[in-house]
Symmetry: C2
Subunit: 382 residues, 2 copies
């Protein structure tokens, strides 16, 4: 699936050629006051605990004063689902929608159709799969992310999760808080990372940062991507390119997912593909929950075929109380958090402000930020 | 304390000069069958779950057949405390005692006095502070560790714990299993490791491996030790030597303890020293629990002066059910586990076998393995 599904690719690319897309247009804010809506997670009592906690609804990226001083309207909410939500009320007349992958406003084709004034969709963070990108492209909208804003945050978090699984940390912690002491119950399945084979599915910005951080651990590093890493960097990291995903995966003791969610990667790890992985494989997925078949992961964790699964992404988000990943054995899951560190928030807040400023002035964004521009999807979403 | 307590040092060194120590003698097994006692943690139902689980009492380092085929007696137990323990029964006539830091047989001066046949104390792992080293030296015993056997295991585990604290992982995991979803309650105190100041107290084998693994994280790396790291390695790692511990500590966002427990380091982090650390400091201690003042750590975690504390070492071990570190806020503790990964076990089991073989043959051990030799303590214990 990762390498197939070429039909979908061609169709998407075809529809995006500028000369075939009458809706493609240069982004420039029309004159006058704009209505900007931000959808962020609420912090409640935590908002006051850290002056740099810019990513929450209460602090609204710290751009309210700046926007309002220029005469724009800035509505912020965390109420994003269903026909009676606060977000839904503003869909018909908003010009810009800002949201995050941590508490995503799902921008469906239906919402896009309703949003007659909408020009710009900004993701404060990385990963814009909460938007129907094809519908956005066909409607001539611009979608942009703060590329790079939290890639370090996510890569660091992935290395943490690798070690948590390799070391069997969670049962150790649970023993402590339960008043127990049973070293054997942890040690019988705790390993060193050194010498193990680690493969990343996708070696874009985050995957490369992870590989660089893995380098001193003396692992056998593999990567699969559409593109080979620059030869100098590849040599420095010592990672081996694997052209065929299904050749790479069964070699891996540890698999890390670093690919966006696209039509090609949705459900990539289904029952069949998981069955071909090494028995006892560890999987880290901070990319997107829907890249996995939810039930196939539960079954493989229960049988022990997957010996540990850790990540911060779920399908959907927030994960409902009865999401089966909460209760499967040998997981080390958290809510979607890896990209929203305080350091990451400072960077993506600054990146959003910069793009809004350029939008008002009719200037281009940094090229790598565009996900949909003039009717075309960025290459990683093809 | 780390740099003072010179009185103790001089006295110890003085008593260890070969010409002043009439008990100093070359180690060589006397002819005939030896009684070897091993004290290891029991694995019970976990023993059968992994054929490489050599470190448990049931597998006894995998050396029983080899020892018995040479006519030696090999007693293994996990029952190590008190006058009626299995270990105590064998003290009067054992020749060799093997134990681990994970389930340590405490070898007091009293036990040494009783052990008339004892010649050799082997630590399967690293860290021999469970032995009264001065009494061992004065009695002419040899104490040796499997130096290097699990330094990688511990260094990897330390990096995991740094990230767990920096990322505020534990509350995130707890939300998941409790059916909750509150990104803000995690994010308001989750950071990137990049750019932070990390200081290691001690830069021996483990400390150096940690610094090497921290290198790609782009931190500000500091270290304090008796000795400077080799200039080439120091340059490669980019870590800065801090001669004065109390100058280094207040600069650190994250402090990692990598020093053995000695009379100089016992209680090193007391109330006063902790009060001078940066507010919100994170501390990782996989070295020894007694380097910290137990209650001072609890108080500082409760007040928030220490924002997170993680480690796998306790005073004493096993930690009793009511040990206050189990219940203090913002900890990420486990039982003593970091050095007893399956990979570590394979290495320290091989190292113990090698030293026993050399002992039987009257050959020297690898020089770096000696903790007490011919009445002298290894330099890291001075």
């Amino acid at each position: 699936m990762w390498r197939a599904a070429s039909k979908q690719v061609i169709r998407t690319v075809g529809s995006c050629l500028p000369d075939l897309s009458p809706l493609a247009k240069q982004l420039h804010a029309s004159p006058g006051s704009k209505k900007i809506v931000g959808v962020f997670y609420k912090a409640n009592e935590y908002a006051a605990k850290n002056p740099n906690f810019l990513g929450c609804a209460e602090r609204s990226l710290g751009i309210r004063e700046w926007l309002e001083s220029q005469g724009h309207q800035y509505i912020v909410t965390d109420d994003k689902e269903g026909p009676n939500s606060e977000l839904e009320k503003h869909i018909p007349d908003l010009h810009v929608l800002i949201t995050t992958p941590f508490h995503p406003a799902y921008v469906t084709a239906e919402r896009i159709k309703k949003a007659k004034n909408l020009q710009l969709l900004l993701t404060a963070g990385i990963g814009s799969d909460h938007i129907d990108l094809k519908a956005a492209a066909d409607t001539g909208l611009t979608v942009a992310e703060v590329t790079g804003s939290n890639v370090v945050s996510v890569a660091e978090d992935e290395l943490m999760r690798i070690l948590i699984l390799v070391r069997n940390f969670v049962p150790g912690y649970q023993q402590v808080i339960n008043g127990e002491w049973n070293v054997a119950a942890i040690a019988y399945r705790a390993y060193d990372l050194e010498g193990k084979t680690v493969g990343t599915v996708g070696a874009g910005r985050i995957g490369k940062l992870l590989l660089q951080r893995l380098k001193p651990f003396n692992c056998n590093l593999l990567y699969h991507d559409r593109l080979k890493i620059d030869p100098a960097l590849e040599k420095e990291i010592g990672a081996k390119f694997e052209e065929d995903l299904d050749v790479m995966l069964p070699k891996c003791d540890i698999i890390v997912i670093n690919t966006p969610l696209t039509e090609k990667t949705r459900g990539l790890f289904d029952k069949e593909r998981i069955s071909k992985l090494k028995k006892g494989v560890l999987i880290v997925n901070n990319a997107r929950g829907a890249i996995m078949d939810t039930q196939a992961v539960v079954d493989a964790c229960s049988s022990g075929h997957i010996a540990g699964y850790s990540g911060d992404v779920w399908n959907p988000q927030p994960a409902p109380k009865d999401h089966p990943w909460r209760y499967m054995p040998n997981h080390a899951m958290t809510p979607h958090i890896s990209g929203t560190t305080i350091d990451g928030q400072l960077r993506y807040a600054a990146g959003v402000k910069d793009m809004l400023d350029k939008y008002f002035k009719g200037e281009d964004f940094p090229q790598q930020n565009y996900i949909v521009k003039e009717g075309k999807l960025a290459s990683q979403y093809l």
